[in-house]
Amino acid sequence: MTAILQILFDALSLGSLYALGALGIALIFGVMRLVNFAHGDYIAFCVFAMLWPSIDAAAIVFAGNLPTYLLIPLILCVGAGLSVLSEILVFRRFRNANPATMMIASFALGFVIKYLLLMLYSSRPKSIDLWSNLSQQIEIFGARIPPLQVITICTTIVILLALTAFLKRTRYGLEMRAAAENFTMARMLGVRANLVIMLAFALSGMLAAAVGLILVTQTGTVDINMGANIMLVAFVATVIGGLGSLPGAVIAGFLIGGLSSLMQAYLPADARPFRDAFVYGAVIVMLIWRPNGLFSSKAAKQRV
C-alpha cells in the first residue's frame, strides 16, 4: 500500500512537470501552429535569471535572494517577458510561414538563448540552494514524501484550474479558444491577432518559469541544458494528446509521468538507466497506432 502511494506521488509530481511543459507548448501551437523548440531554453533562462552573470564555478545568487512572495512573480514575469519578446522579435515574422520553417526558426532561437546563457554563466552546472528544506521527506500514510512533491502537485492543480477559468470564463480566454480553432475566422470577427498571440506567449512563458522553479528546487542545480529533457517529453506529450488540444496535452503529460514512474519502480535494475528510452519507444509505437494522438482535436486533423 505504501509502495503504491509512493509511486502515485512520484507519478503525479513528475506528471505535473510534464503537463505544465506540454501545456506551454500546446498553448502556442494552438494559436499559431508553432512547435516551439525554444521552450526548454525559456525554462533554463528563467532559472538563470536568479543568478548574477558570472562564469565562475560557484553560483552568485542575486534575484534568488528575494523573499519568496517577490521572487516567484519576478521569475514568472521573466518567463513571460522572454517569451513575448521572442514573439515580437522573431516569430511575428513567421506568421505566414509553414510550420516546418517556424519549427526550425524556434530551434535556432533556442540555441541562441542557450549559448547566451553559456556566454554569461559558462556551461558548468552550478548548485543553488532554493527552498531545499522542501526536499526533506515527511511521512504521509507511511509513505515518505518530500513536501516539494505535494507542493508541485498542488501548484499544478491550481495552475490548471486558473487556466481553465481564464479560458472558459473570460473574454480573452474565449478569443484564445476561438483563435486556436480557426484563426482567420476569429480575426474576421474582430479578434485582435497580435493581442491573442502575445497573450498565449506570455502564458506559455509563465508556465516555463513555473517548470523552471519546480525543477531547480528538486535538483538544486542550474544547468544550461536543464530544460531540454522536459521539453522533449512535453513535445511528445503534445503529440500524443493531439496537437492543439490543451486537455489532451495535460492528460498525456500525466500519462508519461505515470509510465516513467512505473518503469522506474518495476524495471529490473539493469534496465533502469534506459527508462526514458523505453518511454519514448512506447510513445512512438503509440503514434503508429494513432498518428493524430489519443485525443486529437478536429481542428488539428484538418490543418496539420
Binding site: R171, L174, E175, R177, A178, E181, N182, T184, M185, A186, R187, M188, L189, G190, V191, R192, A193, S297, K298, A299
Partner: protein, 240 residues
Amino acid sequence: MTLLSIENISVRYGKLTALRRASITVNEGETLFVTGPNGAGKSTLLKAIAGVVTPREGFIRFNGAHIAGKAPEDIARMGFSMVPEGREVFGGLTIEENLRLGTGMRADKDQAARDLEQVYAVFPMLKDRKDAQAGVLSGGQQQMLVIGRALMASPKLIAIDEPSLGLAPKVTDDVYATLLKLRDSRGLTLLIVEQSATRAGLTGGRMVLMRAGQVALEGDARQLVKGDALRQAYFGYGDH
C-alpha cells in the same frame, strides 16, 4: 449613398490570377448579389474586402475609409461582418460562445446583452440549445448561427459567401427570408455571393455577374434573370 466601393482590384495566388481589375460598388441599404461560375473570383472578392487576402493593386473604400491591406480584425471593427463559405462555426465552442465572439469590439456590455436577446428572438432554436457545442448543429442551423454571430457586431454591411451551399431548398428559403427580414428591420446592407442566379432573381435586388476575375454584367436581378444576356455572360460570349 455608397457604402463600399471597390476600384480596380487585382488578386493573385502565385501564378493564378483570381481577380483582375474588378470594380464593384455597394450602396447603403441595398442587397447586392454577386454571381458567376466557379473560379470567377467571387469568394476572393469577399476575402479581399475582409482583409484575408491583400490585393496587389486597386482601392477598397468602406464607409469612407481605405481598407485595402488592413488587418481583418480592423476591418471587422469598422462594421464589416463576414460570413465565409462553409460557415466556419467554432465547433468546439458553445452556441452562446460563438455568438458572444461577435461582440468583441463592443464596449457597451448591456447593449451586447440586448443584442444577444434579439438574436435569440430571431433564432429561437439557438436559444434552446445555447450551451450545446456548435459542432453538433445541422447545416441549416449552423448557417443561422453564423448569421446571428455576424449580427452581434451590429454591422453596417454583412457579406455572405454562398448561404445556400449544402442546404436543402426549403432551408435556403428560410435563410433568405430571415436575411430579408433583418435587412428591412435593421437597415442592413447585404452583399451575397450566390452561384445560383435564379435564387437572386427570386429574392430581388441588384446583381453583378463575375467571370474570370472581372465584372461581366451588372443590373437589376429580376430583369437580368429573365433576359438572355445573363446566360451569355455566364458562359462567356461565343466561347464555344
